[in-house]
Amino acid sequence: MSQTEPTSGTPQAHKLHLSREHALHLLREMLRIRAFEERCAELYTEEKIRGFLHLYCGEEAVAVGVMQALTPTDAVVATYREHGHALARGLPMDRLMAEMYGKQDGVSRGRGGSMHLFDAERRFYGGSAIVAGGIPLAVGLALADRMQGRDQVTACFFGEGAAAEGAFHESLNLAALWRLPVLFVCENNRYAMGTALERSESETDIARKAACYQIPSAALDGMNVIAIEAAAREAIAEVRAGDGPRFLECRTYRFRAHSMFDAQLYRDKAEVEAWKRKGPILRFRHWLEAAGMLDADTAERLDAEIERELAAAVDFAESSAWEPLEDLSRDVCGCVTRGEA
């Protein structure tokens, strides 16, 4: 793992034994994310979801690919663009939708909303809306694992915009210096809000930045779910073996606006369309069809299942209660109990 040219090519180019069952699982996971978010965009227009809503459409292969390589006891740290990570990590869609609404049955009791999804049981640590703010947290989670002798890995997702923040550099250095079990995953979608990578970085090769900290790093085609899974499996095995952190830069693209308020004047429509043609779901679907793994019936069944899950999630969110006002001040601090904080 040293090259920084993105590995591309067809999915089967990678050493990953891909059963039909697993291939369909990958497709299904990406489709669930896409369907969930498209419904979220509609619900935003209907004012059921409020605040900021950052969609992951176009980037699904990254979260889905990496999540395959994690065990249930590994940890995940993500950003405000984390619906996909939460779904791929196994957080239930209905409780996620309730969180989007701000309802009491949401994964964060409704307190967080779209940007702050948490699930301690699944070791899903948010949901951070301060750019690069989750990276030191991930280093600390990994430090705790190391100090307590657990062979767990922390996967930390962030955008390429985060690479300009001090927290990114300080954290990479710490993780490398202390050889901590962190997999850094940079989702390079080329824009930080309206700022293109070339306009914000003197060195636009993010994987090279990580390499400067002596972290083995690679740049990947972020639209290729198989390539990402394969690279993540390899990297995580090395991290778990105690070989220190690894860094994956996944080159991808955000199909929609930065959030719901964004006229997208900073990029050409043609550029967006060109990337959509390379979209992770479209491409994988075509490949599966060509490989004889996906027929029309199966595709229809998948869509119908997802539609049912989504409808149930919306119903759940609709019927969930608002947290009572008397609870406003709860969960600000805990109670002090001896021996456990």
Binding site: G102, T195, L328, S329
Partner: protein, 329 residues
């Protein structure tokens, strides 16, 4: 004033102030995240990039500590930078530079250096942006000697404070409450610079002084209107400057009304409201007919759901109730 007025918004008033500063002084430049091509996260700087170009409307990477610190350095080096930070929560990444450099260089250097930087940032809640985008940390900055801190609430102040801030030899922090940007109103066509310091009496009254600033001003004025319906004449004071505080205006009002309530979107503990209350106690204790009241934000990170966010913030009914309480009603 020529008497001619234009219809404008708070956002446009800030933009007009930035334009004027760029036109008047070639040392002035603006920098921050997405201020240029994108037009600013709250669209305040829309159009400026096209008119002034990338040298003077500088898009920065996501590096709050770096570019705020660079603004401070450029000010020491003779420029007149306007640094825009998207929102006060993100300014914490730059707090080190603001506190340990901007606020101290003059003093540490025995008066040799000056830091005429202006740092603008959005503040406050009301848009359901939850606990990392919604706080009111004005008091943290107002705590620091060496800084000047102001909160323009009206169109006149949004239009007029920036130039005065740029002329000031010391670092000035300007807080723009997110719920004010869309406020519309009339502004004199020839509106000009206004003083940075000094509180303003926004409504005269004799029964109780309602003291506030920034995003709470209009809630407080509405409360005063409701109180008037109950024959209570509330005086509304807009602090405008949070450091230094204008003690004289506050005490003159309290001497007249003998009652005070402070309305502050910051958390109650260690708030600006606490500071103003203490000063009233120190300087006007014998004038008081009732304990000083406070309406502040609940001591909770701001939650996402609308009803909880609303309940966490100072609202008109709570202001009315607190004002009535000082009158035993």
């Amino acid at each position: 004033m020529s008497g001619e007025a234009i219809q404008t918004t708070y956002r446009e008033a800030v933009r007009a102030a930035i334009r004027e500063a760029l036109d008047r002084d070639e040392r002035v430049f603006l920098m921050g995240e997405d201020v240029g091509r994108y037009g600013g996260c709250y669209a305040v700087t829309k159009g400026l990039y096209d008119d002034y170009g990338p040298e003077r409307i500088r898009d920065t990477p996501l590096s709050e500590c770096g570019f705020t610190g660079a603004g401070i350095g450029a000010a020491v080096g003779g420029m007149r930078p306007i640094v825009e930070i998207m929102t006060v929560n993100f300014s914490l990444l730059a707090l080190d530079q603001i506190l340990n450099n901007a606020a101290t260089l003059r003093h540490m250097s025995g008066g040799q250096l000056k830091v005429p930087v202006v740092i603008r940032m959005a503040t406050g809640a009301g848009k359901q942006l939850a606990a990392q985008h919604s706080h009111s940390l004005e008091a943290w900055y107002a705590h620091v000697p060496g800084l000047k801190v102001a909160a323009p609430a009206t169109l006149e102040d949004a239009r007029g404070m920036l130039w005065t801030a740029l002329e000031d030899p010391d670092p000035v922090i300007l807080f723009e409450h997110v719920m004010l940007y869309n406020r519309t109103g009339e502004l004199a066509a020839d509106a000009d610079a206004v003083p940075l310091t000094g509180a303003a009496v926004r409504r005269d009254g004799t029964d109780v002084s309602l003291i506030t600033y920034g995003g709470c001003l209009f809630k407080t004025l509405e409360a005063a209107e409701q109180l008037a319906a109950d024959d209570i004449a509330a005086e509304v004071i807009d602090l405008r400057s949070l450091r230094p505080l204008d003690d004289a205006t506050i005490m003159a009002s309290v001497a007249k009304t003998h009652r005070a309530v402070i309305i502050d979107e910051g958390w109650r503990s260690g708030s600006l409201a606490a500071e103003v209350s203490a000063r009233i106690m120190e300087q006007a204790f014998w004038e008081l007919d009732a304990p000083v009241g406070r309406v502040c934000s609940a001591e909770v990170p701001i939650p996402y759901p609308r009803h909880l966010e609303h309940a966490a913030l100072p609202q008109v009914p709570a202001i009315v109730a607190a004002a009535k309480a000082t009158l035993g009603r």
